[in-house]
Amino acid sequence: MRVLTPRRLRAVRKAVLGVVGLAGFLAVWQLIPTLGLINSQYLPYVTDVLARLFEESVDLAFWRRLGTTMTSWAIGLTVATVAAVVLGTVVGLVPVLRRATHTIVEFLRPIPSVALIPLAVLMFGIQRQAALVIIVYASFWQVFVQVIYGVADVDAVARDTARSFGLTRREQLSHLVLPTALPYLMTGLRLAAAVALILAITAEMVIGNPGLGRMIELSRSAGDAVGLYALVVVTGLLGLAVNLVFRFVERRVLSWHQSVRGEEAR
């Protein structure tokens, strides 16, 4: 019991500080329009936004839109991840392929996926497929690049050790390459999940396929500031949920890694 106490104390402190930070932010937000620093037409009161948030949360239509957005997100992320892991491992492990594809990757990767929005609209119109083109394109590179880095990052001593112990190719893959690449892959996955969400919503804003993004664009053009802020908070919470889930998975999977261990030991 004695060993646990300081740790628990720290957890409580952390939670309290976090709540204080959040409350402080909300208070500042409420104060700015109250003091008239910014007109409440442009920055509505927190209380109004929270009230709208509650109204939305009991509205079935809202949840349906949310579901639509998240479905696009899930499909896009899955397709992109599977493709990126397979291709990334192959390209990362074969030096010849790595060199040959380098130029292509370096040219295609920086193309901002939103530049493809016009093309996607031409090809698919105002449909989910158009959004998926953009989501998959953007999140693919996040995972792909990390997998390539990770697979190539095997420690020289560990590799030589594995070789002298006579590990087969398959054993090397699971005992050497996988542990090395895993932190990279998890980072890539977390980034890709966030990027996929960003583009799912962006696509809806710009293309106009149904979902949360289109609601944002509609409340903007209707001049509904309260609704706009409420939806921004919703997307933030959504992004937060995605991040927390992926962060949790990452911590579980990488519990042996220095970046996770270092924090706990301190």
Partner: protein
């Protein structure tokens, strides 16, 4: 310990400089050329109107972007992009170092930062439009509001994950605060920071395009959307190509800077690997 064995192990390469250059040239351009040729062949045979051949696109590229359009559309975009990226980097590293080093501050701000990072940046475009109107400042603010988070959070992570043995060594040598910051914390965090900057570059580019598609009458994003709405397919492709080139340019600059900043890091890796 292992540093010198590696260097002795490999025999020197006996190939000439010329042939080595030729080989790396072949590697760099072989596959892209092949793909371009295939694309060209498919485009001439196929009937899809949405995929013109590389030649048509390059013609459209010259017609569209070389000339006054470069000054009217491309330069303002690049200016906003550069401003936004610079502000994000300065802000992200400065704030990230402070937050990463001060534990109570980190705990105070963590939920908030998590939330702000989690907001999809393009969603902020309508908000910033509401607050600042449709101006250049608004576009720069939009870029910063999206691009600062990867840098900020990676800096925090990098600062936090400083090797514990080194931190303890610095402690026992009574290294001063500034020295520790300059010689231990920032270098130790720099691989993470650079990774964050790399992420931020792509986010910034996305936001530049989106903010222009959304609220602008000039700029690259606006042009591309305009071409699409008017069914100017080849011109639209040339815009995508130009954005790709901007992205590649950013990546090249970033690569140069990264090589300079992380020279020691790559050096260690290379020695270990040899």
């Amino acid at each position: 310990m292992t540093a010198y064995t590696g260097r002795l192990a490999g025999p020197p390469r006996a190939r000439g400089v010329g042939s080595r250059i030729a080989v790396s040239f072949g590697y760099a351009l072989g596959l892209p050329m092949l793909l371009l040729v295939v694309w060209g062949l498919v485009a001439t045979r196929g009937t899809s109107r949405f995929f013109p051949g590389p030649l048509t696109i390059s013609e459209a590229f010259v017609d569209t972007w070389v000339g006054p359009a470069f000054v009217a559309d491309v330069l303002p975009s690049l200016y906003r992009l550069g401003l936004g990226i610079t502000a994000s980097i300065v802000l992200g590293i400065a704030a990230g170092t402070v937050i990463g080093l001060v534990q109570w501050l980190r705990e105070l701000l963590e939920p908030l930062l998590e939330f702000f990072r989690a907001i999809p940046p393009p969603v902020l475009i309508p908000v910033v439009m509401l607050l600042l109107g449709i101006t250049d400042t608004m576009k720069v603010v939009v870029i910063v509001s999206g691009a600062v988070w990867p840098i900020l959070l990676n800096t925090i992570e990098g600062v936090r994950a400083t090797d514990s043995v080194m931190t303890e060594t610095a402690d026992s040598f009574r290294v001063t605060w500034w020295e520790r910051l300059w010689f231990l914390v920032l270098p130790a965090a720099s691989p993470r920071i650079m990774a964050g900057v790399r992420q931020a570059l792509s986010v910034a580019l996305i936001l530049m395009v989106i903010s222009e598609m959304f609220a602008s009458s000039s700029g690259l994003g606006y042009r591309i959307a305009y071409f699409q709405r008017n069914y100017l397919i080849a011109e639209m492709w040339s815009g995508i190509l130009l954005l790709g080139l901007v992205g590649v340019f950013l990546a090249v600059v970033f690569g140069l800077v990264e090589r300079r900043v992380l020279r020691w890091y790559h050096g260690i890796r290379e020695v270990n690997r040899a």
